[in-house]
């Protein structure tokens, strides 16, 4: 036994193991970075930003050539959507003015009126982590631009993730494809169905084998059905309401048979990211 421990190499390995396990345990899930870390993060991200954009343009060139055939089809669909959009805007303007008038009549305070007024801040992606299980995305907005932890990040097609670690000029974003219900590292998202707003469910994990989000805790009487569009409900107070998440692919009885679970195909794709938007909610004080 003493001979075993007397082996210097093994002893150092043991010390190293203890040290690293302690370090990992202590730093897991920390939101605050210390200043040398922040400085390092900013320097590396700045340098990576120099390379990410040219690489993106060159790769984009090849993609454009490949997509040339689908452009015609896409254009036709877009034109149809545009006419629909013009009609919707007219209706929306009318409803909005009516809503405003009613709120004034009911004497809403300024804070209550502003509660659903979100700001979308555009940010460029500067790097992507090579770690296969934790594909952290770095964007070029930071604490100096008013970004904090736990803000929702969306792409043009839907919800993408949330900000986790903020340094002065850059922010790490945890993608939806890395969320998992066993750890404090990820936040569950309260969701509902577009058009059936009394529906309720929680998205708390991503299944990498099928590439779908798992929505659980759906009540038995819930009207959710296949093909419905799932949006955030804002009940969790982390994500703002009304951001599109994905489409329901299947619905089945959940693990304990009391509630239902649904598989959701996310609208955003999580690879080859270019620009993303950070959603700024008005302060809830």
């Amino acid at each position: 036994m003493f001979k075993f421990l007397g082996n210097k190499r093994l002893f150092i390995l043991m010390i190293g193991l203890i040290f690293f396990i302690a370090l990992m345990g202590l730093t897991l899930g920390r939101a605050k970075m210390i200043w040398p870390e922040k400085a390092l993060k900013d320097t590396i991200s700045w340098t990576q930003g120099l390379f990410y954009k040219p690489a993106r343009y060159i790769a984009g060139l090849f993609e454009d050539v490949r997509e040339l055939r689908t452009v015609y089809q896409e254009n036709r669909v877009l034109r149809q959507t545009l006419s629909q959009y013009a009609r919707d805007t007219a209706l929306l303007n009318q409803l909005e003015s009516e809503n405003k008038r009613l709120k004034e009549e009911l004497a809403f305070t300024e804070r209550q009126k502003e509660a659903n007024h979100y700001r979308y801040r555009i940010a460029q992606v500067v790097s992507l982590s090579p770690d296969p299980y934790n594909r952290t995305v770095t964007i070029n907005l930071g604490a100096k631009d008013g970004i904090r932890e736990n803000m929702a990040v969306v792409s043009t097609s839907g919800l993408l993730g949330r900000t986790v670690q903020v340094s002065d000029f850059y922010t790490n974003v945890q993608l939806l494809s890395d969320i998992n219900d066993a750890t404090n590292e990820s936040k569950a998202i309260a969701v509902t169905v577009q058009g059936k707003e009394d529906s309720f469910g929680i998205i708390e994990k991503f299944d990498p084998e099928t590439g779908m989000l798992v929505m659980t805790k759906i009540p038995q009487t819930d009207p959710i059905a296949e093909g419905d569009t799932v949006v955030t409900s804002g009940l969790g107070q982390v994500f703002p309401a009304g951001i599109e998440v994905g489409k329901v692919v299947s619905k089945e009885v959940g693990e304990f048979g009391i509630t239902y679970k649904a598989m959701i195909k996310p609208f955003s794709s999580f690879e080859h990211l270019k620009e993303v938007f950070v959603v700024e909610m008005p302060e809830l004080r």
Binding site: Q48, A55, D131, P132, Y133, N134, K205
Partner: protein, 174 residues
């Protein structure tokens, strides 16, 4: 002098891994199959095989820590796995006259070991719950193949560098 160059090359690889590689790899390799480029690790493994395992240990620990600080959900996971892998490969297989096939095999073995330790650490801290069989076929083995390809790519230039160094100094590190 040489070490400055090695550090600069590793730093450049580290930066490219996060910025250019996501665009070079097809989108399918980042969603259906999770391919991870560990090019910094491949160079460190070569250092362990041809130059010195202690140097490789130090590089593994420090570049792992750099990764943890820049991307990681926690400090120490990459640092530990990279340092351990580099040291073990250097300890078991340090031969300055390895042929191309065996050094490729060792680079692949080292990367495989690294991926296993990495997955183990994440499972231990419950950061992922994906079953091992799926990860083995969809993440670990494809990554090992990609990194072995990179190892093949840099074999000749690295070998030239290491041989010149061995002739010039008759291996001063050990």
């Amino acid at each position: 002098m040489r070490r400055t160059w090695i550090t600069l090359i590793l730093l450049a690889l580290f930066i490219l891994e996060g910025s250019v590689l996501p665009w070079l790899l097809p989108a399918v390799w980042q969603s259906r199959v999770l391919v991870a480029p560990d090019f910094v690790l491949v160079v460190i493994l070569y250092l362990a095989m041809y130059i010195n395992r202690h140097l490789a240990l130090v590089y593994g620990l420090s570049f792992g820590m750099l990764h943890d600080m820049v991307y990681g959900p926690m400090l120490g996971s990459y640092s530990f796995s990279m340092g351990l892998t580099a040291y073990l490969i250097g300890l078991a297989f340090r031969r300055p006259h390895l042929q191309i096939v065996s050094s490729l095999f060792l680079a692949a073995l080292g990367d495989f070991l690294f991926q296993m330790v990495h997955y183990g650490v994440y499972r231990l801290f419950n950061l992922l719950q994906t079953p091992f069989e799926w990860v083995l076929t969809h993440a670990i083995l494809p990554s090992v193949l990609l990194n072995a390809l990179f190892a093949l790519l840099i074999y000749v230039p690295f070998r030239k560098l290491a041989d010149r160094r061995a002739v010039a100094a008759e291996d001063p590190d050990e």
